[in-house]
């Protein structure tokens, strides 16, 4: 099934197409959701809700963007909603713990798993709007223009958010991880 066939099936409200979409994009969405929220269980719930939401609004899909972009947009909205709801929950020990760890731990350049874990926990400390842009640029490999279209802000704003995301991430990461030196 190519993209065009999938779009037609979506417009006709064909529910079988969603099973196909789950096979095609389920894992990719799950990875993106995991980077956004940092927890596997929550990421799974987000993906599940994304597909249900997509099913409900399938008829409204105008086909102006790729299907994955549309699904990813739904995922972003659901994560924002979730973020608003959990915003009042405060975890006092979380920030100092990660900052301490990043400063104390000596990380070897070839310890990619540890680096990745540290980067992931640092990403979770970024404000959501910075996190979204960072993930879309580095993980989804979207261009600045595409990101600006998807989240509905200007290209300058996307660049600015990306700049601040990297600057903040640099503070959370140990000096060995000199990925974001300016």
């Amino acid at each position: 099934m190519n993209e065009e066939t999938l779009r037609l099936a979506l417009k006709q409200g064909d529910k079988d197409v969603f099973v196909h979409l789950l096979d095609l994009y389920g894992d990719r969405l799950f990875r993106s959701a995991f980077l956004l929220c940092g927890e596997k269980n929550v990421a799974e719930d987000l993906v599940q809700e994304t597909f249900l939401q997509a099913l409900r609004s399938a008829k409204k899909f105008r086909g102006q963007s790729a299907i994955y972009t549309w699904l990813h947009g739904i995922l972003l909205n659901l994560n924002r909603k979730r973020n608003r709801n959990i915003f009042r929950l405060v975890f006092p020990g979380r920030l100092p713990e990660i900052q301490d760890r990043s400063l104390k731990e000596k990380i070897l350049p070839d310890d990619s798993k540890k680096i990745a874990e540290l980067i992931n926990s640092s990403i979770q400390l970024l404000p959501l709007k910075h996190r979204e842009v960072l993930i879309m640029f580095y993980f989804e490999n979207l261009s600045i223009e595409k990101i600006s279209q998807q989240i509905g802000v200007g290209e300058g704003t996307v660049k600015s958010r990306l700049y601040y995301a990297r600057a903040k991430l640099e503070k959370f990461l140990p000096p060995e991880l000199n990925l974001f030196s300016f």
């Binding site: 529910k15 389920g26 894992d27 799950f30 995991f34 599940q48 099913l55 990619s112 874990e117 992931n120």
Partner: protein, 125 residues
């Protein structure tokens, strides 16, 4: 404030992210749960459910309006009294026999009290 810098940096960071999450997949349990949810709640069933909710909401509103108008508007019969009275002018020369209707509403629970002055020989004209 020019964020996306050189490509090597972008590639490095993208690779690290891939290393960490590249092997993550939806569990079979969750996959089958999503498929089950999708099949049980298709587009039309969702529309049907929302329509049923609208219908219930409309019925409740309609019942509320009917209830309000039936109790406030017309006075129930038990509160209506028909009285026959005879009245005259101040000189008590011209007497008139008439029927009046005394009404009371249920809400304020008030009655109109009418006292007729009795006369032994009323002249009914």
């Amino acid at each position: 404030m020019n964020a996306p810098k050189d490509e090597p940096l972008k590639e490095d960071f993208s690779k690290i992210l891939d290393t960490h999450v590249g092997n993550l997949c939806l569990s079979e349990k969750m996959r089958s749960k999503i498929i089950q949810d999708l099949k049980s709640q298709n587009f039309y069933s969702y529309k049907l459910v929302s329509q049923v909710w609208w219908a219930i909401a409309c019925l409740v509103c309609f019942a509320f309006i009917i209830h309000k108008t039936s109790t406030v508007g017309d006075v129930p019969e038990s509160f209506v009294k028909i009285k026959s009275v005879t009245y005259s002018d101040q000189n008590r020369t011209n007497w008139v026999k008439s029927t009046i209707l005394v009404k009371s509403t249920k809400n304020n629970n008030s009655y109109i009290k009418i006292t007729a002055i009795k006369s032994r020989n009323p002249k009914i004209s």
